[in-house]
């Protein structure tokens, strides 16, 4: 006896238990009684392709017991789509939001959300909800992927609110690589941002400002290097002027291995600056980053042979 077996609402359904499908001893899967019973009713309703209010209640029950069961999610969305009375917005706000905040590593939740928001056709309320999500884990790959999907789906490139959002997260943790990546996405992923020298210059200033807060922050340096490599109108001399503040050669103070790395790349392309490139790479290999010494020595060999690695 159990919740479903005792319910008059489910009296017409003959549950299908797991054993009938399980030939191998390896596959013996132990269920708690509650979950096993709910699953046996799920098998029965799926077998008859029932799409009803009670199926919504059943799938909700199962998802609460085991949110990783991807089959149940797909079945739930199909049921929601088939029921004229079901409200997708309610599904989002009263069911999915609290569940997402409890199960941070769950992949199925985000796919379900994408299907719902796509069907609703609006992203209203999404930014507010995501603030709560990122407060729990500001680098969650699923949540960021979902946010990028929103940008692509609703064409939010260059949107002031998206940029303000990345600014807020970078303000909270300047080393949040996901936020930096999102900033790149919003600014440049639609194709024409990198040819806009005004935008590129503004972003270069932004990255430099953040490096001033944390000189050894790989994310900000990577952003700056991306602009240097792909952006229009970046003056290399200006970048050099900035980088030397963090990587003094000839016995000066070194505050950042990334600055040394960048200087070595730029100097390495100029035969007149070869000595400086060599010096920067030797400092990395011998003193500031010896764990990757073979990498820096490879770069050194490239510079010495006249083939500068960028």
């Amino acid at each position: 006896m159990g919740k479903y077996a005792d319910s008059p609402e489910w009296a017409d359904v003959v549950p299908i238990s797991q054993q009938e499908h399980m030939p191998a001893p390896l596959a013996q899967i132990a269920y708690t009684d509650e979950y096993a019973e709910a699953m046996s009713y799920l098998r029965a309703t799926m077998a008859s392709n029932e799409l009803s209010e009670r199926v919504l209640a059943l799938t909700e029950d199962i998802i609460r017991l085991n949110p990783s069961h991807y089959t149940v999610w797909l079945y739930r969305f199909r049921t929601l789509s088939a029921l004229p009375t079901a409200s997708l917005t309610t599904e989002l706000t009263t069911f999915l939001n609290p569940l997402s905040l409890r199960h941070l590593k769950n992949y199925q939740i985000w796919h379900h959300r994408q299907l719902l928001v796509s069907a609703i056709g609006s992203y209203e309320g999404e930014a507010e909800f995501l603030v709560d999500m990122f407060a729990k884990d500001a680098k969650n790959y699923h949540v960021w992927s979902y946010r990028q999907w929103l940008v692509r789906h609703f064409k939010l490139f260059h949107s002031a609110s998206e940029l303000a959002f990345t600014e807020q997260l970078i303000g909270e943790d300047v080393r949040n690589n996901s936020a930096w990546n999102h900033r790149w996405h919003v600014n440049f992923a639609d194709g024409d941002g990198l040819s806009d020298s005004g935008l590129v210059a503004k972003e270069l200033e932004y990255a430099m400002g953040k490096i001033e807060l944390a000189a050894q922050n790989e994310s900000a340096w990577n952003y700056l290097r991306g602009l240097l490599a792909k952006g229009a109108g970046v003056e290399e001399s200006k970048v050099v002027q900035f980088a030397v503040k963090y990587a003094g050669l000839d016995g000066g103070e070194v505050k950042s291995t990334h600055a040394l790395d960048l200087l070595a790349s730029i100097y390495g392309k100029d035969p007149a600056k070869k000595e400086s490139a060599v010096q920067a790479l030797e400092l990395l290999a011998d003193k500031y980053d010896p764990i990757r010494a073979p990498y820096w020595r490879y770069r050194l060999a490239m510079v010495n042979s006249g083939v500068a690695a960028s």
């Binding site: 499908h21 899967i29 797909l74 790959y141 790149w184 990577n222 764990i291």
Partner: protein, 360 residues
Amino acid sequence: MSLASGPGLGGSSPDMLWADKHVEYIVSLDKRDDEYEYWLTEHLRLNGVFWGLHALHILGHPTALPRDDLIRFTMSCWDASSGGFGAAPDHDPHMLYTCSAVQILVMVDGVSVLDEPAEPGSSETKRMRVAHFISSLQDRETGTFHGDKYGEPDTRFLYNALNSLSLLGKLNLVDVPLAVKYIDSCSNADGGYGTVPGAESHSGQIFVCLAALSIAGVLDQRLKDDSKWADRLGGWLSERQISTGKGYGGLNGRPEKEEDVCYAWWVGTSLVMLQRSHWIDRPALRKFILSCQDGEHGGISDRPGHAVDVFHTHFGIVGLSLLEWSENKDGEASEPLGLEEVDPVYCMPRSITKALSRTG
């Protein structure tokens, strides 16, 4: 195969490999089906079987799990109508498990079960039906793959598709050049790759993209033609090694994240495929992995002091194999651990993929 964690914690002596303990640990997982966590991880069951079985192969105990049971369980996850495999019986078919299923069948030399008719009396074989399931998930406009007919695309699924189709000898069913083009569109300014165009670079996605390029047959030529690309990506990957603090020698998956044993595989194998695995401190990485072992009950955890699980046990073992064999090739061999060689592209025993490429 239980994916429940524990009972032990990683954190033993960093100098030796407790190989026999790990074998015992993996074999014992089959007998833990009375635990609460067992059904919570049901959605990964077939992956779990793959991780356990592959680790046993690399540890030199390929027959420690009964072959007949493995084949029977794998086929019980097969959905004849779609041709795909689910995570466990009655679960919807999905690319992830279909790839694991094919890899398991190949590893136990049981892939011939797929040469039976798909249904009694059918002229179509199970092999054809599996291959059609996989190829049906390619997006013919962009070249990427979906995990199932409802789901999002992910470069991980693209790799799963190329891996399993080539094992089945059916790569001709999909548009490989278009898949390559898609991978290129996922390349970021920092040199790495994400799940979809624009998504953050992540070591796991870099592994799947490089391995897919290799199966597509274009990686070698690119390494010759574009060493700057390989240098930039190799530089980003080598930057993943932690150079200070308690995680020293370990690898992370993205900038400013914590070290974790499983990245020994994703970063390590990417560097091997780029022919730049000597760019990191391999002895330091080996020490880090070994320090995540539970020397008493067996198993490996994500980092020292955490509970062991089959996922990190697998990636720890294959990571160690990768280190041992790449050092051997570079003539920098340290103390051998006696592990079988892993194929960096397929994530399967090298002896098996070698035999396949001879016959196929």
